[in-house]
């Protein structure tokens, strides 16, 4: 069996382009329908990354920008697997994360929130999944912060996650939320996702077994990328 194209994206689980409650989407959303494209080699291939591209410390946000001590905040481990829709691991794929610090402030020249920058926290990390699709980061739990949408909108604590997979059509950016956060159901960005079950898929679960006693609490977060069909019959044209 040879791998063929990736399964069609289930657009009912993804946010549509236009979501007026998230105001910025209004002027940035295409109005015409997308053209559906049968995948070619341009879509089923994608960039390949290796361990030479990154440093081992890149997945430790507690240490990768530390200047004179550890960053302030609740120490957490975020771990899980990158899988495809066939429940197979996606090995050797690049996972990148970014987040606010424990006070809800980003280290970004465009962020002017009152909460202070943490001198020991950069807020970004990256890693490559192992042969089982497994990845892990150590960081501090990000804080909630206000944003200009409605007058009093607050983002739930979240970590942005970027994943590649093996084909460029698997490329995905999403956000990780934390179990039990009361801001999740109030957030217009979360609510861009039309399917409540799909929202649950972005909420990391507290994982006491993976927590390090007296050190670090853990959350489990699996990421699912598009799965791929197999060519079952050789008498059909490849990738037909």
């Amino acid at each position: 069996m040879k791998p063929a194209e990736f399964y069609q994206r289930d657009r009912h689980r993804h946010p549509p382009a236009l979501t007026p409650d998230y105001k910025t989407s209004v002027a940035r959303s295409p109005r015409y329908s997308m053209i559906s494209l049968q995948q070619s080699v341009s879509e089923i291939t994608g960039p390949v990354f290796g361990h030479n591209d990154i440093d081992p410390i890149d997945n430790d946000l507690i240490k990768n920008y530390a200047k004179d001590g550890d960053p302030v905040g609740e120490r957490i481990i975020v771990h899980g697997r990158v899988l495809d829709e066939n429940a197979r691991p996606v090995p050797n794929t690049l996972v990148e994360v970014w987040q606010a610090n424990a006070g809800g402030r980003y280290r970004h020249k465009k962020d002017t929130y009152l909460a202070p920058i943490d001198p020991n926290f950069g807020g970004c990390g990256r890693t490559i999944t192992d042969e089982n699709g497994y990845y892990f980061f150590r960081t501090v739990k990000p804080g909630a912060y206000p944003w200009r949408n409605w007058v009093n909108n607050w983002r739930p604590a979240h970590i942005h996650v970027s994943v590649f997979g093996s084909g460029f059509c698997q490329r995905l950016i999403t956000q990780l939320y934390f179990e039990g956060d009361p801001l999740i159901p109030l957030c217009p960005i979360v609510a861009t996702i039309p399917d409540p079950d799909a929202v649950q898929q972005l909420i990391a679960k507290l994982d006491m077994n993976a927590s390090v006693p007296l050190d670090c609490i853990a959350y489990k977060f699996d990421i699912v990328l598009r799965g791929r069909r197999s060519t079952l019959f050789e008498n059909r044209l490849e990738g037909n």
């Binding site: 382009a17 109005r31 080699v41 390949v48 020249k109 950016i173 999403t174």
Partner: protein, 230 residues
């Protein structure tokens, strides 16, 4: 009760947000953290073919440049091979074919240096009428045209930003590849011929002896760029 299918479902997308640079281009966010950032060198120094520069801007529905966008490019080398096990053939050492750029925060302009990709052998079926056009322009193609139509040189682009809920896929073709574009199976898939031009980068002179191509992406409004559901 019927049996259950045991597939998982793809994680839903969320916007990259205004601070995407922290994660994917921290230097632009204003701090130095990684030994090397990824995606600034698309072709490497050993790549054969024509060196080019690609520049452009992303325009929103109000007609304003989007100043916090991040684009990724994925392209074949000058022989039409992608740097991937299923990419169609070998590529030069150092050729990754993948790039990542952000816009200038003040102007919204973006740009990258690369080599012009070659025609790529597709795995798509040709639409009606296109097969005949291909066959007449390339008699040698007859036997392969069902599954291996050639695609004109193009660069695949993926666009994320605040306000974009799921990354937008489009393709940049080259205005000066008139013949190849005329029989490209993807351009021909676009029913409205007047929209195909939204995917053509325009030749904009030379800089330091390197041809410059300009590609404006319009998210919405007049001449909205064609985006693909891949």
């Amino acid at each position: 009760m019927t049996q259950k299918l045991d597939y998982l479902k793809e994680s839903p997308s969320q916007t990259a947000g205004p601070y995407v640079h922290i994660g994917l281009a921290p230097g632009a966010a204003g701090f130095d953290i990684y030994k090397q950032e990824l995606g600034w060198d698309i072709a490497g120094h050993k790549a054969k073919g024509q060196r080019i520069r690609v520049e452009g801007v992303v325009i929103d529905g109000m007609g304003s440049p989007v100043k916090d966008v991040l684009l990724e490019a994925w392209q074949a080398n000058s022989e039409g091979h992608y740097a991937h096990p299923e990419g169609g053939g070998k590529v030069e050492d150092g050729f990754r074919g993948w790039g990542r750029v952000i816009t200038n925060f003040e102007t919204g302009e973006w740009g990258f240096d690369t080599v012009k990709p070659g025609a790529v052998h597709a795995r798509v079926k040709l639409g009606s009428g296109v097969a005949e056009k291909v066959a007449s322009s390339d008699p040698d193609w007859q036997g392969r045209m069902d599954s291996h139509a050639p695609m004109a040189p193009h660069i695949n682009l993926w666009i994320v930003a605040r306000g974009i809920n799921i990354g937008l896929n489009t393709r940049m073709y080259f205005e000066d590849e008139t013949e190849a574009n005329a029989v490209d199976p993807v351009l021909n898939l676009i029913e409205w011929e007047n929209r195909r031009g939204t995917l053509l980068a325009k030749r904009a002179g030379e800089r330091d002896g390197v041809p410059v191509y300009r590609f404006e992406i319009r998210l919405q409004g007049d001449n909205e760029t064609v985006f693909f559901d891949v």
